[in-house]
């Protein structure tokens, strides 16, 4: 806003104005469907999930083990060198408790999500997943967790082949 300007334009309307027809709207639902190629790296990652294993890629130049895997290192800008199996246990780097679904709809039962650094991945290299078998107030950053997998016959080669990660006690 400037003191030199006297009028700011724009005409507000409410959702009710729209629903009750006081504002004209033309409605459409564009339909576009997709079949995404998973690519070389993610394709292997997904097929390993189907086998109950998590796989990453190592770049020998910077030494990082990357998960999700990629065929090139974005820092060194060279091909990554080898496949590396990672443990399905790890550590919570950060977490949150979501009462919102994908369309901002309210959820009765919240979803707990976390960035998890898997054992064998480089420091700070995390993956996003859900936490289960734990109450929201019990989750802590630094908590140790382990993947809970779908039964083998139900796996389809998707990130959801892991149902969630649950806390583990270690001696």
């Amino acid at each position: 806003m400037s003191v030199r300007i006297k009028e700011y334009r724009g005409t507000y309307y409410s959702r009710k104005d729209l629903e009750e027809g006081r504002v004209m709207a033309f409605r459409d639902r564009p339909e576009a469907r997709y079949a995404w190629a998973t690519g070389v790296a993610m394709g292997r990652f997904l097929s390993e999930l189907k086998n109950g294993r998590i796989i990453g890629r190592r770049c020998r130049s910077c030494g990082r083990v990357l998960v999700p895997p990629r065929m090139f290192c974005e820092r060194c800008f060279r091909p990554t060198d080898e496949w590396v199996y990672l443990s399905d246990t790890g550590t919570v780097l950060t977490y949150s408790v979501s009462y919102l679904g994908p369309a901002a709809e309210r959820l009765k039962e919240p979803v707990i999500i976390a960035v998890i650094q898997l054992d064998g991945a480089s420091p700070g290299i995390g993956i996003l997943h859900k936490l289960g078998e734990v109450k929201p107030e019990e989750v802590k950053i630094g908590m140790r967790v382990k993947a809970v997998w779908k039964p083998p016959e139900e796996r389809e080669g998707a990130i959801t082949d892991i149902l969630y990660f649950k806390p583990i006690e270690e001696g």
């Binding site: 806003m1 400037s2 003191v3 030199r4 300007i5 700011y8 334009r9 724009g10 005409t11 507000y12 309307y13 409410s14 959702r15 729209l18 504002v23 709207a25 409605r27 459409d28 564009p30 997709y34 995404w36 998973t38 993610m42 997904l46 990357l66 999700p68 990629r70 974005e74 780097l93 950060t94 977490y95 949150s96 408790v97 979501s98 009462y99 919102l100 679904g101 994908p102 369309a103 901002a104 919240p110 979803v111 999500i113 976390a114 960035v115 700070g124 290299i125 995390g126 993956i127 996003l128 997943h129 859900k130 929201p136 950053i141 998707a158 990130i159 959801t160």
Partner: protein
């Protein structure tokens, strides 16, 4: 910078109301903002050599190539016109792109217009936001956009021991500042308690921690030095620009600190000759789509040390003493995205407009009290990965 050919000034700015829904189309809103900016600059479209458009995802509108659809309303008809896009960072990146059009020596006068109409996506634009996530690796988990903010806020609080009570003071400040902005969508006098008692969306993010979806447009006119000096006695010089992009693999970096914002700021500060940002910058508009983001970005802009933006801030009085309009370093005097609204690209441009008006001493009731000479505007976005920074001086 290798060799910048010419100095560039902002000579006019315009803005529409920001609201949850506006009856006008994006084209009509763009026209209002562009026309106002030209009038403020004292020129007409005939004087404009090129137009730069900023607008965020096509998914909001459900119309592909929306830059082209907006061109007429932005003054882009039958002249060089280009749309730039870096997610939420677009609003500050748009005048940066306009800057290089002029600094290169290729154009003398360039109009930069940013627009967003989020209400077309019905009933809520969140659904369109989910298409920014990786379709194979992230979307099947049911991700919504607030997740990433909540994860980042939690990490920031954990690493530095910052409390939610402290972060809530930012929402209090910005919404109160917005009471003096005639275009503001959510100005309010609220307390820390109100923020802490508001609906939990994605813990630790609550309703009053978040800026709203909005419709709106904003514009600035840029001119080369020789033209600017003819047209106005009060040019505001663009003395530093910077931008930087990190990876979309956002779970592979430590979210407590936006390194890419720091890199963008370093680029802009080097160009502007700024060595000690908190001492040399008089007013700042860091991007605040969420309250903690103001702290996160002020630290990325090196206006405070890592984790120290809210040091000694225990309540409302402390935040106004430090960062109010008559505070030590005024931050978001406009009211920010939290108070004025968040029509993505237009929101970033609103921050550039605000610094322009603050440095020209035209901000009226919002005018900061420290006789500002140098200001910085910053925007941020995509998958927590882009920083765009502009330093302005009079």
């Amino acid at each position: 910078m290798a060799s910048i050919k010419r100095r560039v000034a902002i000579i006019g700015a315009g803005i529409t109301l920001f609201r949850r829904r506006l009856k006008e189309t994006g084209r009509e809103l763009s026209f209002y903002a562009a026309k106002m900016a030209l009038e403020q600059a004292g020129i007409t479209l005939d004087d404009v050599d090129a137009v730069v458009c900023g607008t965020a995802p096509d998914a909001f509108d459900g119309v592909h190539m929306k830059g082209e659809y907006l061109a007429d309303g932005m003054g882009g008809h039958r002249r060089p016109f280009v749309r730039v896009y870096v997610g939420g960072g677009t609003g500050v990146f748009t005048p940066i792109a306009a800057w290089w059009h002029v600094a290169s020596g290729h154009f003398d006068v360039v109009l930069a217009v940013a627009e967003e109409k989020m209400s077309s996506c019905f009933p809520h634009p969140q659904k369109a936001f989910t298409t920014i996530f990786d379709p194979i690796y992230t979307r099947p988990l049911g991700a919504n956009l607030v997740w990433i903010f909540a994860l980042e806020m939690q990490r920031y609080m954990h690493v530095h021991g910052v409390k939610k009570e402290q972060i809530a003071t930012i929402a209090v400040k910005n919404k109160r500042n917005a009471l003096d902005h005639p275009c503001a969508q959510l100005p309010a006098k609220i307390t820390v308690k109100d923020v802490l008692e508001s609906e939990v969306m994605v813990w630790p993010v609550q309703r009053l921690d978040i800026s709203p979806p909005s419709d709106g447009a904003a514009a600035v006119v840029l001119a080369a030095e020789h033209v600017a000096k003819q047209l106005t006695d009060d040019p505001v010089w663009i003395e530093g620009v910077g931008w930087c992009l990190d990876s979309t693999y956002w779970t592979n970096r430590d979210l407590y600190y936006p390194k890419y914002v720091e890199y963008a700021a370093r680029m802009a500060y080097k160009m502007a000759g700024i060595k000690n940002p908190p001492k040399e910058i008089d007013v700042a508009e860091p991007y605040d789509p969420f309250d903690y983001k103001e702290a996160h970005h002020a630290e990325g802009l090196m206006l405070a040390r890592k984790g120290e933006y809210l040091k000694d801030v225990k309540d409302e009085n402390d935040i106004f003493a430090k960062y109010g309009r008559d505070g030590d370093l005024p931050i978001c005097p406009s009211g920010g995205l939290l108070g004025v609204g968040n029509p993505i690209a237009a929101a970033g441009m609103m921050k550039v407009c605000e610094i322009f008006w603050q440095l020209r001493k035209e901000a009226g009731k919002r005018q900061v009290k420290n006789d500002p000479r140098t200001g910085v505007a910053q925007a941020w976005g995509d998958l927590m990965q882009v920083g765009t920074v502009m330093v302005m001086r009079v």
